[in-house]
């Protein structure tokens, strides 16, 4: 196992390099001039020069890349143009909120998906299965921002069960504030997970080792959880890991809808404000978060499935 972890950590290095290359290329080579984007079309030449110097754009491309990589490795993501504070600090403030939101959404998605996948798989091709799959088919086509607005209006504004935005001050308050947004974010993921898990359960249901387990006279609950769910989850886990990226993307929208001061909201605000260093820093950070999540899902998979580390 330690060997496996080490190997996966080493594999992370090329991915990180590639992330940096992609972001670098995006910012430098796509048409559009950051300085004039920041300053507007009628900017003075001197100002453009100053911004370019500030962003390091007056140097040659390889030098720029080297500076860029070095600053990331030293944890220096530059300063926000509009807020005038280090991007690292900004991200450190905002990212935990987004992470908490994402984790809650992931947990809620699993809580919804697992029992329904079981019901659908065990009542395959019958009414409960059809209803569940039909419902999720609709759920998959629902735009996150509209679900959010509806939940916000109904449970926040009208029924007043939940706050209509913000983040609160204490941890329980955070959970309370993030509940509706997390549900919003969880719905489409739970639909995807449900579909996958249902198929996986159906496949495992008639597996030889499940028949063997049944022939041992074990309790149904033990067979369902120990023998069926665990194996079915392994194949769904990869999808779950991949979905974390989608969740983080979805957080951009959810945080905007619910006015949550997280990294997603920061991203949108920075785009409106043409705050390049922040957009760039956030893009890299989120990509790093996702690749770490992939690593964690791999480890979890290895822990669940002893064949992986072989």
């Amino acid at each position: 196992m330690p060997e496996f972890i080490a190997r996966r950590l080493v594999q992370l290095i090329p991915t990180l390099i590639f992330i940096l290359v992609v972001v670098f290329v995006l910012v430098r080579l796509l048409p559009g001039d950051p300085a004039s984007a920041v300053l507007g079309d009628r900017a003075l030449d001197a100002d453009v020069e100053r911004i370019n110097r500030e962003l390091g754009l007056d140097r040659s491309i390889p030098v720029q890349f080297w500076v860029f990589v070095k600053s990331f490795l030293t944890g220096d993501l530059g300063n926000s143009i509009s807020l005038r504070i280090p991007v690292t600090q900004l991200i450190a403030d905002r990212l935990p909120i987004t992470m908490l939101l994402t984790l809650m959404a992931a947990a809620i998605a699993l809580i919804i998906a697992i029992p329904l996948a079981f019901v659908a798989a065990l009542r395959r091709e019958r009414l409960p299965d059809t209803l569940i799959r039909g419902g999720f088919q609709v759920g998959l086509s629902m735009p996150v921002f509209y679900i959010g607005l509806v939940l916000l209006t109904v449970f926040g504004a009208n029924l007043r069960w939940f706050p209509v935005g913000g983040y609160g001050d204490t941890f329980p308050e955070h959970l309370y504030h993030l509940f509706l947004p997390a549900v919003t974010l969880a719905l489409s993921l739970s639909a995807i997970l449900m579909r996958n898990l249902r198929a996986a359960i159906i496949e495992v249901l008639d597996a030889d080792y499940v028949t063997f387990a049944r022939s041992k006279g074990l309790r149904t609950r033990l067979i369902l959880f120990r023998h069926i769910l665990r194996n079915a989850l392994i194949s769904t886990l990869a999808l779950f890991g991949l979905s974390i990226g989608t969740l983080l993307g979805g957080a951009v929208i959810t945080e905007t809808v619910f006015a949550i001061p997280g990294a997603g909201r920061l991203m949108v605000d920075s785009i409106y404000g043409r705050d390049y260093p922040v957009v760039q820093g956030l893009t890299v950070t989120l990509a790093v978060v996702v690749s770490i999540t992939f690593l964690l899902t791999d480890l979890l998979q290895a822990w669940l499935d002893p064949r992986v580390t072989k």
Partner: protein, 289 residues
């Protein structure tokens, strides 16, 4: 076809789409095709269906609920919601197609080449895929849009830069399987060029999963397009686009629910159309195999 070579014939038999009679088509396929056929028609001729000008303000009819005159009500500028929803079909169906056509064509071609070549090409491609999927898709797209500036054209570029990877990955996997089947060997034995083997023999057989994914992807494109519209980074107001409409509705959720419900429904129904068609197509192509 003048060639009577064996692999060619076998290939043609595999490729010919013998559509079953309508009664034998999978139900999801029929449902999806009906919804989308109608959607495309509305998108092409919105004027035939829309009772009003989607952009015309009417300050005498602001925020009116559904009525005979305005079946879906009116918005805060007195614009007819039904007409806006109908005209939005033009933009949103366009998004579904324009945002996915390049990824589909380019991605399947790259996937076929990579899957056929194997070896180092496949390894490098694998790394590229690994790296691209570490960027949350929406985050990457809006980051690109932020550099290029808001608007639909730039959204297509952004989606195109990233989206092809998924098609390529799916197709490469399938080509890898097809490559091992006998008829590919037969083609090689006949001395066909690589290009001919890839694009005339392997790809037609390997493209099924990519086509099925394309349907899902079009539904995702509409969700993405309307999300960007909602954020103000896609279609720009006052254009009629479902996401833009919902953004306009957000301050009137309690007082004028009709402003958001109908564009929302349009998104759901269209998305449902695509995923039904995708499911039906998958079923159809699976039984044909």
């Amino acid at each position: 076809m003048s060639e009577s070579a064996q692999p060619e014939a076998a290939d043609a038999a595999r490729r010919s789409v013998r559509l079953p009679r309508p009664g034998h088509l999978p139900l999801p396929f029929i449902g999806g095709a009906l919804i989308l056929g109608l959607s495309v028609f509305v998108a092409a001729f919105p004027g035939l269906f829309a009772p009003y000008d989607p952009l015309a303000f009417d300050y005498n009819a602001v925020l009116q609920g559904p009525s005979a005159a305005h079946p879906f009500g009116t918005d805060n500028f007195g614009r007819d919601v039904l007409s806006r929803v109908i005209h939005a079909y033009t933009i949103d169906m366009q998004i579904a197609i324009f945002a996915t056509i390049f990824p589909f064509v380019f991605g399947t071609a790259v996937g076929a080449l990579v899957g056929y070549a194997g070896g180092i090409a496949e390894t490098i491609f694998g790394r590229v895929v690994d790296a691209v999927i570490t960027f949350p898709f929406l985050v990457l797209v809006i980051a690109i849009v932020s550099v290029l500036g808001p608007g639909l054209g730039n959204m297509y570029i952004a989606v195109g830069l990233v989206g092809w990877v998924f098609y390529a990955r799916i197709t490469a996997a399938e080509v890898r399987v097809q490559k091992r089947l006998d008829y590919a060997d037969a083609g090689r034995a006949m001395g066909y060029t690589h290009a001919r083997i890839i694009f005339r023999h392997l790809l037609p057989n390997a493209i099924t999963p990519a086509i099925v994914y394309w349907m899902t992807d079009m539904a995702l494109a509409i969700l993405l397009g309307s999300s960007l519209g909602y954020l103000g980074l896609g279609a720009q107001p006052p254009a009629a686009e479902w996401g833009v409409q919902i953004a306009e509705a957000k301050n009137f959720m309690s007082t004028a629910w009709w402003m958001g419900v109908f564009p929302g429904l349009a998104i759901v129904v269209t998305g449902l159309g695509f995923s039904l068609l995708g499911d039906g197509l998958a079923e159809l192509l699976r039984t044909r195999r």
